[in-house]
């Protein structure tokens, strides 16, 4: 599995973070900046982790 595919998991959480920030901003409701930051951090950390694990076990499945 190409290691770069693992970055998709970060994309997933960025999407979640965007919805989390965007929905209350646009539709009204409590906007949680702190939570958004944590989700963005999670996207970064999760994709870094997935990437290094994929690269780290390269050349065998």
């Amino acid at each position: 599995m190409k290691p770069r595919l693992t970055l998709l998991i970060g994309v997933v959480f960025l999407v979640v973070a965007s919805i989390f920030y965007g929905a209350p901003t646009l539709l009204g409701g409590h906007v949680d900046v702190g939570g958004t930051v944590m989700l963005v951090g999670l996207a970064a950390a999760m994709s870094l982790m997935a990437y290094v694990l994929a690269v780290g076990t390269a050349s065998e499945s």
């Binding site: 929905a23 209350p24 409701g29 989700l39 982790m49």
Partner: protein
């Protein structure tokens, strides 16, 4: 018997105290985790009995409110941080290297460090009881402003430091598990041939790695608020009390999956063995576990619905979504059992207890996901019922399934089946008697964390019933302890594979030699030992030949590669 051990008797050496104190062997460290965690289970359990004794009848009989608050805080803190999370890490420590055919964990010394931080942290937390203000008393959730300097004494500081230590231990363990699982699998053990236990430890380790540091940051902020004049959570100066809850629950919700996924892994190992059927839907299990892990990061504020600082639709929707992968697992467990050739040994019975009670816990949790319902039952005994059904009915029953399943592997002796069944019956009856009435108590409005209640409220009978149940749970520990005590010295010798298991740990002696395997069977599916036991005769002659030819170490691998 499917054994690959070359010198079966040589493995059972007696280790002295020095060996136990300085070991870096994952098996011994796993056992240390188990023993330490069970000690805290008993301490936490005694605290629970104290809580239930006070609540049995209206009126303050035994503990002043300030002491009562310490009791439930420390009960939960010991149970969550020093029992559930570590004992599952302990099972992972013992089982994962064996199940993937590795000789040890990736970082054995860090493994030992991870363990020894735990008794230290536990003692540190417990010394709170000796301070002037008593132990931490703001609930295991330690909300500000109650946890701030003005309202909480040094016990809280000790608690904070202890939890930071435990968190560090967990994070180091998670790194260890991830590197081990990804890098040290035996040849032929592809990711999709790993036992589900290993998969759950993998996802759990991801959760630990990514969520626990957030808890550390929250605890540090609280410590700074308390001791260095910080104002993170102080509304009077522009801080935000809800910020604590936000950051805390970002960890603590994934934490509850950390507390249950490995137990689900244990159940997923036990059910196939005792139904003599492969696990139904292996790949679905893997994806469901990953899905629970990922979704688990998106629901944290469902613990905060009533604060007014939460975007309700998002969290309610996400919480409902988690029911889907959980339901998949439930369905797959039942499908594994269906039309199986069931052997009702104690591990299976505990696993069945898990499945039934986790189902109840999952369903009553789904009630709470409905926001208007949560507005009514938040911080009532409904939540106490939910969390105990998933944690006790779920995780603890999974733990005991693991204990009965792997005790023979760890010690070379079987636990007594009769005593095991007595323990199960007492525990099952006790848990349901204690926690089922709490659903009703929550619905009629009994708040949690109160030391006393008015007899006019009509809550007396159910509380008394719950207290009786709690003492039955306590009693269930007696046959267990007796069982362990007698089985260690005179239990039936287990042999390599007493249960006719599927996974690699059953391919070596009981207990295994320090390096785990003399040689490994061929790994061509997720049930390598089953395959070894059932291969047709001619190929087993191949294995025989391979064994004879394996005077040279490099041929100690899958037989098919020559």
């Amino acid at each position: 018997m499917a054994t690959t051990a070359m010198t079966p008797a040589a493995s059972a050496y007696r280790a002295g105290l020095y060996e136990w104190l300085t070991t870096t062997d994952h098996k011994k460290i796993g056992i240390l985790y188990l023993v330490n965690s069970l000690i805290f289970f008993f301490v936490g359990g005694l605290l629970a009995l104290a809580v239930r004794t006070e609540l049995a009848m209206p009126g303050i009989q035994f503990f002043k409110e300030v002491v009562y608050n310490q009791l439930f805080t420390m009960h939960a803190s010991f149970m969550l941080f020093l029992f559930v999370i570590p004992i599952l890490a302990g099972f992972g420590n013992y089982a994962v290297p064996l199940m993937i055919g590795a000789p040890d964990m990736a970082f054995p010394r860090i493994n030992a460090l991870s363990f020894w931080m735990l008794p230290l942290a536990g003692i540190l937390m417990a010394t709170g009881f000796l301070t002037n203000g008593g132990a931490a008393a703001a609930g295991w959730t330690s909300y500000s402003p109650l946890a701030e300097k003005a309202y909480s004494g040094m016990g809280t500081d000790l608690w904070i430091v202890a939890v930071i230590l435990i968190g560090t231990s967990s994070i180091l363990g998670a790194i260890n598990f991830l590197v081990t699982i990804f890098k040290m699998r035996a040849p032929g053990m592809t990711m999709f041939r790993m036992p589900i236990m290993v998969w759950t430890m993998l996802v759990t380790s991801v959760l630990v790695l990514l969520a626990t540091p957030v808890l550390a940051s929250a605890l540090i902020m609280l410590f700074i608020d308390r001791n260095y004049g910080g104002h993170f959570f102080d509304p009077a100066t522009g801080g935000n009390a809800i910020l604590w809850q936000n950051v805390f629950w970002f960890y603590s919700h994934p934490a509850v999956y950390i507390m249950v996924l490995p137990a689900m892994g244990i159940v997923s190992e036990v059910l196939p063995v005792f139904s003599r059927k492969p696990l139904f839907g292996y790949k679905a299990f893997v994806f469901a576990t990953a899905g629970i892990g990922a979704l688990g990061f998106s629901v944290w504020a469902h613990h905060m619905f009533t604060t007014g600082s939460v975007y309700l639709p998002f969290f309610s929707l996400m919480t409902f979504l988690i029911a889907i992968p959980t339901g998949v697992k439930m369905f797959n467990w039942i499908a594994t059992l269906f039309r199986g050739q069931l052997t009702f040994s104690t591990p299976l019975i505990f696993a069945l207890g898990f499945v039934s009670m986790f189902l109840i816990g999952g369903i009553n949790g789904a009630f709470s996901a409905v926001v208007p319902v949560d507005f009514a039952i938040h911080d009532t005994y409904w939540v106490v019922a939910h969390l105990h059904y998933v944690l006790f009915g779920g995780s603890v029953f999974g733990v005991f399934a693991g204990v009965y399943y792997w005790f023979p592997k760890m010690t070379g002796r079987m636990l007594n089946e009769g005593l095991g069944k007595v323990q199960f019956v007492l525990m099952f009856v006790g848990v349901n008697l204690t926690f089922f009435p709490m659903h009703q108590l929550g619905l009629v409005g009994m708040p949690r964390r109160i030391a006393d209640y008015s007899s006019a409220a009509g809550w007396n009978d159910l509380n008394l019933l719950a207290t009786v149940g709690s003492f039955i749970i306590g009693a269930s520990m007696l046959p267990f302890l007796w069982n362990v005590f007698i089985s260690l010295s005179s239990g039936k010798p287990a042999g390599d594979d007493p249960w006719e298991g599927n996974t690699l740990e059953w391919a070596t002696s009981s207990p295994p030699p320090p390096y785990n395997f003399d040689r490994l069977p061929e790994i061509r599916s997720e049930r390598p030992v089953f395959d070894l036991r059932h291969r047709p005769r001619p190929e087993s002659a191949d294995l025989q030949l391979a064994a004879e030819a394996s005077a040279a170490p490099e041929s100690a691998g899958p037989a098919g590669h020559h």
